[in-house]
Symmetry: C2
Subunit: 76 residues, 2 copies
C-alpha cells in the first residue's frame, strides 16, 4: 500500500529548479550518493518526491548540493 | 601574463556534459564549494577550464559530483 511504511520513513515533496534531463541526472546522482532514499523526479513540474528516514533538513542540504534552487513543499 | 603562475597553479581543461544554464550553475556551485579554483565555463562546447593548485584527480572527483560525464582534456 503506497504511503504505508514502517519505522520513520516519510514521503516528502520538494521543489527543485531542474530544467533539463542532465539536471535530473544530477539530482539522481546526488540522492543515490546519500543513500537510504527512494524517489521520483518530475522534471516538467520541477518536483522531487523522496521517501526516506532522513530528516527534511538532511534532504534539503543534499538537494542543495546541486546548486539549484530547492524548497520543501511538504509531506505527501 | 596568462599562464604564468607561481607555485603549483596549473590550467587544466575538462570536458563536462552540460546541456543548459542550470547545469553550468551546478558546476559553478560545486567548484566554488571546493575553493582554491578560478574557472571559465564554456557551455556551448561543454568545456570547463580550471586554474588551481588542486590535482587533476581532485578536480575530476569534484566535477564528478555533478553526476555528469566528465573527462580530462589536458593542460592548457
Amino acid at each position: 500500500m503506497p504511503g504505508e511504511f514502517h519505522g520513520q520513513r516519510s514521503l516528502h515533496e520538494f521543489s527543485v529548479d531542474m530544467t533539463c534531463e542532465a539536471c535530473a541526472n544530477t539530482v539522481t546522482h546526488i540522492l543515490n550518493k546519500l543513500g537510504g532514499v527512494q524517489f521520483d523526479i518530475d522534471l516538467p513540474n520541477k518536483k522531487v518526491c523522496i521517501t526516506s528516514e532522513h530528516s527534511v533538513d538532511t534532504l534539503l542540504e543534499t538537494l542543495g548540493k546541486t546548486g539549484k534552487a530547492v524548497s520543501y513543499l511538504g509531506p505527501k
